[in-house]
Amino acid sequence: MTESSGAEPGERGRLDRRGFLGLLSVGAGGLLLGACSSGSSSSPTAAFPLGAAAKASSKPTRVTLWHSMSYNNQTTLQKLTDAFNSSQGDVHVNLVNQNSYTDTLTLFTAALSSGGLPDLVQMETVNLQSMIDSRSVVPAQRAIDAAHYDLSDFLPSTLNYFKVQGTQWAMPFNVSTNVLYYDQNAFRKAGLDPAKPPTTMAELKVACQQVVSSRTANYGMSLKLDTSYFEQWVTLADALMVNEQNGRSGRATKVVFDGAVGTSLFEWYADMLGSKLAQPTSATTYDNLLGIANGIAPICLETSAALGTIQSILSGGQYANVKLGVAQTPSTTDKRNGVFPGGAGLYMVSKSSPAQQDGAWQYITYLDGPAQQAQWAVGTGYIPIRKSATALPAITQLWATQPEFEVSYQQLAESPQNVATAGAVYGPQAQVEQAINSALTSISTGTSASSAMAQLTGRANAAISSYNARVGA
């Protein structure tokens, strides 16, 4: 319960007054503690303590990172971290696995009152507004300004997502996008060209019709009833999710996806599901991928981050009849805008000591370096966020032998930079996404697109206004 999260042996177990108060408030949601701990967020103009770790009286400065990487990806992250720790003597980073992005946010919020915060936290993209509102973050912008850190080699999309009104809040780390997965063998069987996967939703529908009419599979594709594909398509159509320029010019107060684009997307879902061209699959399972493997539906959309896992399963030989193809997400029309990045960013915590903040920044810049990003991408299937990384042998070899891994990078790199592709930023993103999932599910069970949209808009706006009221905005 100490604020140093028990990283330093000397501080472990010492219960200071704040820690004790935090302990008391754990069960009560930290109501009273809210007031007394809110003042610790430093103002955005304060200088970043660059070089504090090198000048620290005791070395190394210990930095804790909370992450949510699964076993396979954690192995690569640990390798990178070990390399960082042995590359210098000022900073030592410890990894703490908090199981999932959702759990990380829950634990982080709890730690705001009870103590035990990390120095660095990996948070899913959608939690950006929440992290800003939590008043517990040192914007990366301060370190960038202090260090005159060069951002020109970064893939712009990845930075822009975490930038709100000129402030870079987090640094991107693990980035992915949704891509189209399909079975080339099934395409061939259905009389489709495996080399020419559908590029628009209209073509996607035609392909599905062909799969079904040729009796290649029960369904043309799986439609995972998950918000991220809907959001991706809204962005590809150059439309916005929320007002105030997707929340980039001011705090969003309502959703705006209920216009022509969103409504026609819902109608497309209703059409595909109603005509049995697509099978609905749950947002919480990988039944869409299993659909390809089991020959139920040879096409689906899924995050590119799953590619590494899929390839390792396919290489097991259990699904020898499947030849995987990967393509960019089909656009809504011929006019393709672009996609926003998914994944997570790294946030520095303002309660940490200057030396720890500096240490965290050193670690971030290490992880985001071209060589490390190349290693990370090869080890996990995430996108390398540095342009120069793509010229490194590790990446060029991977892409040459397994071109599927390049698709997601290209999709993001080709995306034009605008408020739509920056992605939406607003507070109760989890709740709104839950409402979108619900709406898609209700369409799959026969609710009309228009009434699903009407109900969704009501729920989403209620969630946003309730959240805004609760943060006092």
């Binding site: 109501l31 919020t109 929440s130 008043r135 029960n218 049995k276 599910t441 069970t445 609760r470 006092g472």
Partner: protein
């Protein structure tokens, strides 16, 4: 007064007066003793009361109190006192009423069926046949399973892509049972009934065995057949147990969380979003104010159910 008994005649009066004053003195001493005993009694109760106060009453009151605040999603932002308006808003919201309705449906789907099945199995297992111990063990075995394990097993069985049930039913892909607006709640209820059947079975078996053999033999001699004996003797004698099982079942159904979280997460489209899951989601959204109101509502409902039980037990409406 024994002094007075021994002293007849005129002297008795004086003796009695003395006795009375002695009695009064005794009275004072007795009161002193009672107070002392009470003090010792309270001293013994104190640790329990302290534990209750800290871990039950305080959080309870705190929950009601917290319902008066609009709590920010982060403790770094001060909460705002909004009084009873939050209770009013939450308790009249369609969201709350819908989840209350779902909870009601869930209770109706789980409790009566669970009791009927548990009782039926108990009656079957009451038969004196070879190998009945095996069946008794089998029937009560679900007690030893955890809700998480059961849920994961059923989740896999019901999966539309790889599930065994889907395979048997000839379903390939599409919405499974857990993704169906119509069938998701009955499916979760079925898992709940399955999970709880062992407990109900044990409860009913114990009650069956507690029925004196004489009564059933008397009924037999009085001309009642097997079915008639069950309806006219066994069932009425089981009624307190049935009632107990109903109350416990209702409370358990109101608090059924694990299976819903693992099977449907409140979906599809909120069709399994019962009160307790709504409460959980509110906590997940760090909306402690709303969550507290929901918790208070849940508390009041369960308190009412419990009071009904106490009332019935106290009145002994069954027999005895």
């Amino acid at each position: 007064m024994s002094d007075a008994d021994l002293a007849p005649g005129a002297a008795a009066l004086g003796e009695m007066a003395a006795g009375r004053s002695k009695d009064a003195a005794n009275g004072h001493r007795r009161m002193g003793r009672i107070t002392r005993e009470a003090a010792v009694g309270y001293l013994f109760v104190l640790p329990v009361m302290a534990v209750f106060a800290i871990f039950v009453f305080y959080p309870l009151l705190r929950t009601f109190w917290l319902g008066l605040f609009r709590v920010a999603p982060y403790p770094t932002i001060p909460s705002k006192f909004v009084g009873l308006s939050q209770y009013r808003n939450v308790l009249t919201s369609p969201d709350f009423l819908a989840s209350l309705g779902r909870t009601g449906e869930f209770v109706l789907l789980t409790v009566p069926i669970g009791i009927v099945l548990g009782l039926a199995l108990a009656v079957l297992a009451d038969a004196r046949i070879r190998g009945i111990r095996f069946f008794r063990t089998l029937y009560s075995s679900t007690v030893a399973t955890s809700v998480a394990v059961v849920s994961v097993i059923f989740f896999t069985l019901l999966n539309p892509t790889v599930g065994l049930f889907s395979y048997w039913l000839g379903i390939k892909g599409g919405n499974g049972i857990l993704q169906s607006n119509t069938w998701a709640l009955p499916a979760v209820a079925t898992v709940t009934v399955w999970q709880n059947i062992g407990f109900t079975f044990i409860l009913m078996s114990a009650a069956l065995q507690a029925i004196p053999e004489d009564l059933l033999e008397a009924a037999r001699i009085d001309g009642a057949g097997g079915r008639s004996r069950f309806w006219r003797v066994t069932l009425p004698l089981l009624s307190p147990t049935v009632f107990f099982a109903a109350v416990v079942g209702i409370i358990a159904s109101f608090e059924a969380f694990g299976q819903i979280d693992l099977l449907t997460q409140g979906g599809p489209d909120n069709h399994t979003n019962v009160l307790i899951y709504n409460l959980y989601t509110s906590f997940q959204n760090n909306d402690f104010g709303k969550a507290s109101v929901l918790a208070a509502a849940l508390f009041v409902i369960l308190l009412a159910v419990t009071l009904v039980q106490f009332r019935f037990v106290e009145r002994r409406v069954f027999y005895g």
